[in-house]
Symmetry: C2
Subunit: 411 residues, 2 copies
Amino acid sequence: MSLAGATQDEVRRHNLAALVRFLHDHGSTSRSELVSHTGLNRSTVGGLLSDLVAADLVRETEPVGRGVGRPSYGVEPVGDSAYVLAIDLRVDRTIAALVGFGGVVLERREHRYRKGQPREERIVAQLVAVCHDLLRAAPARAVMVGVGVGVPGLVRQPDGLVRFAPNLGWVDVPLGEHLVEALGLSVPIVVGNDSDLGAIAERLRGSAVGAANVVYLSGQVGVGGGIVVDGNLMMGAQGYAGEIGHMRVNPRGRACRCGAIGCWETEIGEPAVRAATSSPEGMPVAEIVARAAAGDKAAIKGLRSVGEWLGVGVANIVNILNPDVVVFGGTLREILPVVRSAVEAAVAGALAAPGEHVVLALPALGDDSTLLGAAETAFAPLLEDPLGVIAGGRPTRLAPASPASVPSPRA
Amino acid sequence: MSLAGATQDEVRRHNLAALVRFLHDHGSTSRSELVSHTGLNRSTVGGLLSDLVAADLVRETEPVGRGVGRPSYGVEPVGDSAYVLAIDLRVDRTIAALVGFGGVVLERREHRYRKGQPREERIVAQLVAVCHDLLRAAPARAVMVGVGVGVPGLVRQPDGLVRFAPNLGWVDVPLGEHLVEALGLSVPIVVGNDSDLGAIAERLRGSAVGAANVVYLSGQVGVGGGIVVDGNLMMGAQGYAGEIGHMRVNPRGRACRCGAIGCWETEIGEPAVRAATSSPEGMPVAEIVARAAAGDKAAIKGLRSVGEWLGVGVANIVNILNPDVVVFGGTLREILPVVRSAVEAAVAGALAAPGEHVVLALPALGDDSTLLGAAETAFAPLLEDPLGVIAGGRPTRLAPASPASVPSPRA
């Protein structure tokens, strides 16, 4: 950002945003680290921190550092000063959480659907119930910043229309609108693709910190991909990039929910893993992996075949995208450890140059990559204008004429 | 670029670069267009143009525009004031050209190899002979800016080491070094992947002008891809992104030169087209397409199958990358028109959202996309510091102690 011609207010907001972004991303730090990170002088940082402390976003802690030189005051984000509502909407369940400033999960709920794929209205109704329940547990006096939602499908921006979520059976579902209406909140609601959000979170706080080129694979019933290129999420022309699960790798294979034959997810998605291992309907992938570990022959043989197909697709990703890191999320997180040698062999069979440095990683955020990525997108307003959002957020967060009103987060 | 704190010289260089870049990219224009494009005032633009005219890079033409207001002077790049040497090194031949400022091809040579794949030393020797011949034809007094080379393989940056070019049989060939030594030029030599360069040129002057997300496919013996994401060439972690030809689409298919089975190029590359159409060794794809047009049954049937495989890969590209435009270069330029309906059907079978807007285009630069992309990378120094390069370039372009000395471009 060029600051030439900026007003004093703009400069101050810009500098506050830089401090708040650093604290949000890195957690506890010291004044001197903030000085060296921002390039601002010590007294400017001190003044800005006073404002953030007064707004209750930041607290000072014991002096940090010893040895020569004077000790530097410690600074840390106040996790329950501001929060977002983060939702990971899956094919079989919804996970929702309140995530505080600094990326701390404050409260968390998980709700499994009863059976199969419930219809759109029921999923939305259950989602809204979970959110209401969560919001009742919101910390007193905390400011709600926004709502972030991850969906296993193609999401149009900026309105959050779910264009196609084959494994939910959704076509053109205005999820963003539904939630705005049902939750009755006046904060922004951002709907994104689950794998894109996973990639964001793993790059910020997980296994791909510092990597410029990342692919996050999200295995559920289907398989999605979030692609980071040169540090930026790759959206593509209309925001639909990353549908790696619908890469056709086996044109003589099975029919996919998308209508094509032999998509990658028909070989490595959850139903494919069950089919390959002759496991009963509904058995979780973790249990199949456990059976293989216990010596179950069918499970071992089936997972070997899944591992080969996993390798084919990962090698393609390596050849096409030349990533630093591929992160295996969702069910692939369970599968990778038992098929790693097959996947590594396949990557070794990719072109040598892009294959020689790529890291095949498990998500450091475990099962929460998408959830925390959804939280990150929801935090954006606070990270751009911290004091503006806090000042605007304290009086009330309720939409004035909301049809289905929600308990105030501070009730 | 933030100009805060820049010196007057830096500002002037920056402004000159903006004018020269615009003239190079857009050709003939008017003073008022330059004023509105750069946001500089009329007298500043006038002063900068005087300098560029004095350096012989730009000439003024008849006033442009009529109707109300005073007419604006026309301005155009002087094509033979500065030039680059551009090389498109292929599996069966080398194409080389002198390309002048503004992107005009001044001189062009094409040299087919005698048979099969000549070895590295012979290709380099022939390449050097072609370059010497071309340089003798360079315009008098013109300044040579650089050399750009496109290679069908993985190229390491910034040294131009060709890591792997399977269809040339090259592994770790220091092509950049070889050329620096053999050509004895003191200008920079940039070696790049042929498809990346094709993507750059088609986006700048071809079928993808203005598109932010582009995939350029280059069909030869193998198939390469140049990927533009949000206006920037996607390099990947080590610069090897875009090896779309080595996406495995048919794991029960043929062995690929890269060592894997069923890579896309084994189904749509030149040898695959000949095999599918039962055409004799060495028959060019253009001739096979002509035979099909003339009603040859084997050619028709074979191309239909090639078209289906082409469609599978393009649908994958659409699902993974969500491009605005896919440009079909090289042999695919011959094939697309006769299999377009099959490819469109496959794209229609991709996910609806990314598939609904994508344009399947032929390269507007015909067979010259890679050549002109190589020229663009070579022009970079001139576009960054126009008067510096012209001033530095006029005295001599010969490296002082070059082992194989080259006739001066101005001899």
